[in-house]
Symmetry: C2
Subunit: 206 residues, 2 copies
């Protein structure tokens, strides 16, 4: 391999960068070159912030979103509606929903989906912790009234939603699933059949 | 911005990652999430290798390729033909040519091209150092016989090649430019006119 021509520190950097998702050897080389040849301060800041994240970031003990204290910023917020819990697959989904401004309740991050093909059971996600959380809340003064399941509309997302819906119903709490239908700006002509079926089935009175 | 929901260390990491070329906020968030949630050892190795590169990598004092000593690995190699210097824009181009195995001489990395549109003069590249290097070699026991200009075939690459060709010719050394023509696997039907003109003009006896 001609990469051997690079100094060893550069080769190690290229190697570490190629471990990142969506980064192949070519991108890794370009990024490494930028880090070596670009602004020295930026490179050091990046190095330090990776280290800081490793040392300072944990999962929130309640909702499993990212946190730098025992509870995340959302769980510390007393103004959120604790009667409603929105269940999502990963932390970035929380940010997406927060950006929409359409939800004022609390979250629960599963960190995974039910994926039989990858041999991943629903109990390997944070689902047991969700059920425990609901049980605890019911015993206390602020019971959970609704669990809004906001997993994606992939096969795994749908299966997980169904599974969680059943589990939640067993604890006597209402479960709902975010609507499926035409996205904003969607044209009927180009919509796929599954989306159209969902849009029709989910129609609402005007 | 809803990103404010992330812990501050995470936000700093996303911010630093978005400064990398071709990485926008979405990719930066995905990469940051991977670094926080993935293998802890990998994240620390990446952090350290960025720091190591900043501390250990410089430009070779002779050819301006990347080096961790005064001279890069290529300039230290006594088996290279010092009568031939291949001029390229950036370090990655050296690797590309080394991979091809088609060149056994030495290199000179310009770290830039003549780009009037970006207000970049040829003298802002390492061209003055190339001319100095040729002059010194001519005065010594191993003069340079040929400068192979291997800049890209973009407007800037062509302009720089022409400029360097003239400057090198003035010092009495032969300058050549890598061939332009059909790439391997290329079909006549789909080749652009400029490429075809170059391919025809550069035809060689069989």
């Amino acid at each position: 391999m001609a990469l051997v021509r690079y100094p060893s520190a550069m080769r190690r950097l290229i190697n570490e960068l190629s471990k990142l998702p969506t980064v192949g050897e070519k991108s890794a080389t370009r990024l490494a070159y930028h880090l070596v040849n670009g602004d020295e301060r930026d490179a050091m800041l990046l190095s330090e912030s990776i280290k800081d994240c490793q040392e300072q970031i944990f999962l929130c003990s309640r909702c499993f979103f990212l946190a730098d204290e025992k509870l995340c910023e959302l769980c510390q917020d007393k103004n959120r509606d604790s009667a409603r819990i929105c269940v999502v697959e990963k932390p970035a989904d929380v940010i997406a929903i927060e950006k929409s401004g359409g939800f004022a309740g609390e979250y629960h991050v599963l960190h995974g989906l039910w994926s039989p093909l990858q041999g991943k059971d629903p109990t390997e996600t944070k689902l047991p912790e969700l059920l425990e959380r609901i049980k605890k809340a019911s015993a206390g003064s602020s019971p959970v009234e609704e669990v809004v399941i906001a997993t994606g509309t992939t096969v795994e997302g749908d299966a997980t939603a169904l599974y969680i819906g059943n589990a939640v119903a067993e604890s006597g709490v209402k479960a709902s699933r975010i609507a499926q239908g035409l996205p904003k700006g969607g044209e009927l002509e180009f919509a796929d059949e599954v989306t159209l079926t969902h849009a029709l089935r989910g129609r609402r009175a005007l």
